[in-house]
Symmetry: C2
């Protein structure tokens, strides 16, 4: 059962519902649509889905907007869709969750209501990095601005298990984002993390540099959430900026303008490829339920994939495998 927060996005709830229904039918997964009951009912009616057996509705009377401060909003709005949806997981009524909402609020609500797996220091947020031959994972993409070496070590295995179980990569490689390939290069955090990871029996390729993120030869890139957030944003911006720069250079050169116009279908196709919708959003790993946080602008395609990924995490018993993998290396926090 996957809970779907249909209210928190910037687009109309109808788009989220449409995508969630499509995933539900295609993957035969039960969903709970969380939000204003009357609104959801009317949308289901419109979409002719009123008697569809895999769908339940859970009413929530409030929603948290994009601009709201996560901690304040979660406290002030206990009946918001994201708070209700995360509570469904705590109560055992759902095992996965997709929300197109305020990333921070989803994170806070998840920590409050779902909680971390025992022995996990911090949940790691995954983002997908486009490469010439597919997509690599970057973890942590922004959930944890301040990290300790042991957090990063756990992120490495969250990424590894995700790549194995969800992306079906056989022996995914893990790299530590740093400022030089030599093991002596880095900051205190990465140097200590390197020391933890280097002796473990898995596919650790050592440090990788900013240049190498997009080569596609490293499946999982590990970094703290401050660096990860900045890498993601710089990438997004520079990608778009490159075309703006080219257009600026072209100016009034007629043939170059024509050229740009002719090549434009490729540019457009590429832009959609860089679009994160096909992954539905950012999985938040290490919690007692499987959460996927969509972009605020998530539409039906993003919602479809978000539900798909949340369901894959549940079906592939991601958490169980992760726990085993961490215990194998003694990487879970000792609880007194």
């Amino acid at each position: 059962m996957i809970a779907v927060d249909v209210m928190s996005g910037e687009r109309p709830p109808e788009q989220i519902i449409k995508g969630a229904l499509r995933a539900s039918e295609e993957f035969k997964v039960n969903i709970i649509l969380v939000g204003d009951e009357k609104l959801i009912e009317s949308i289901l009616k419109k979409l002719k889905h009123t008697s569809y057996k895999r769908v339940k509705i859970e009413h929530s009377s409030e929603k948290i907007d994009m601009h709201e401060k996560p901690t304040v909003a979660c406290k002030d709005k206990p009946d918001s869709s994201i708070m209700v949806a995360t509570r469904l997981i705590r109560e055992g009524k759902a095992r996965g969750l997709f929300s197109p909402g305020n990333t921070g609020a989803t994170l806070v609500a998840s920590l409050m209501n779902i909680g971390r797996i025992e022995g996990i220091y911090r949940p790691g947020m995954v983002t997908f990095v486009p490469t010439l031959n597919g997509a690599s994972l970057l973890i942590d993409a922004g959930a944890n601005p301040d990290c300790k070496p042991e957090y990063l070590a756990q992120f490495a295995f969250m990424g590894e298990v995700f790549a194995q179980k969800i992306q079906k990569k056989k022996k995914p490689s893990v790299g530590l984002l740093s400022i030089g390939q030599e093991k002596s290069k880095g900051n205190e955090l990465t140097l200590k993390t390197y020391d933890i990871l280097k002796d473990l029996d898995f596919n650790f390729v050592g440090n990788i540099e900013g240049y190498d993120i997009y080569n596609g030869d490293v499946d999982i890139i590990v970094c703290d959430g401050f660096v990860g957030n900045i890498v993601v944003k710089v990438t997004e911006r520079v990608f778009k900026l490159t075309f703006e720069f080219v257009w600026q250079e072209i100016g009034y050169h007629l043939f170059q303008r024509l050229g740009f116009a002719l090549a434009y279908p490729a540019v457009k196709k590429l832009t959609s490829k860089m679009d994160p919708r096909e992954y539905g959003g950012a999985p938040l790993l290490g919690l007692k339920g499987n959460v996927v946080i969509g972009h605020g602008t998530s539409d039906d395609v993003a919602a479809y994939h978000g539900v798909r990924i949340a369901n894959l995490l549940v079906e592939n018993r991601f958490n169980e495998v992760l726990i085993k993998r961490l215990d194998n290396f003694g990487l879970r926090k000792m609880v007194a």
Copy 2:
């Protein structure tokens, strides 16, 4: 007097010498070419510069290669061109320095032989960030992987004084690179740095995000050297990657190929614009002499600009202005 390390680059010393001579003539600046005396003499002869009065030669018998470990190499090769060149500054024979060499070795040699200005915690390395309307500065670009808030506060004013004195910007704006615009967003380091900077009377615009680095509306972007290094490398890679992606998307589409070919002059012109040569390299600020570290592949154009910038720093009394500015805000380290 500007010392020029002609040996440490990946290109032949002749290119460095050629560029340095051009800057010397154009800006009437005295230079000391540091390297193998016989080799330099033969090159000067070839370039018909034997009697040129603004040029001196300082012999050094060794050189540090690109791949060498900075600390080890600087200790093992006291007569390397970069060690000799930095000693010229210590001895008062030169006030500025350009080296196209091993960045780490230049940094280490500079710290060993030149030393920091009194009360400066760490030297800050500047890089130039291309924007749609010119270039912004990013500091620190990689000299200091681990920073404290007070280092970043000093970097802010190194950048400010550089933008004022060298780039001739009137009231340059300073932004703190973080993961959200709100002042509550960031990691421990940036939150504390924000607290220091927010009350000072200068053009502080607060936090800026990874998206905003390239907008050109912030003149100086402050971050630690770990983040800075990664931002620089990601930017460089994504910029090139975008064209690789477009070309991959185009595949065998004839018209799109034709389009790409037609627009190519703009792409090429842009690539040269993104090229850091016109800044000569990365100024290393906060030392008792003015150092510019060129890229390993520096050619005559880079050397010309490297000497130009080093000379501008000296002529504009960068260090004096910086000290005044820091003292104005009580930002120099108290010396017992």
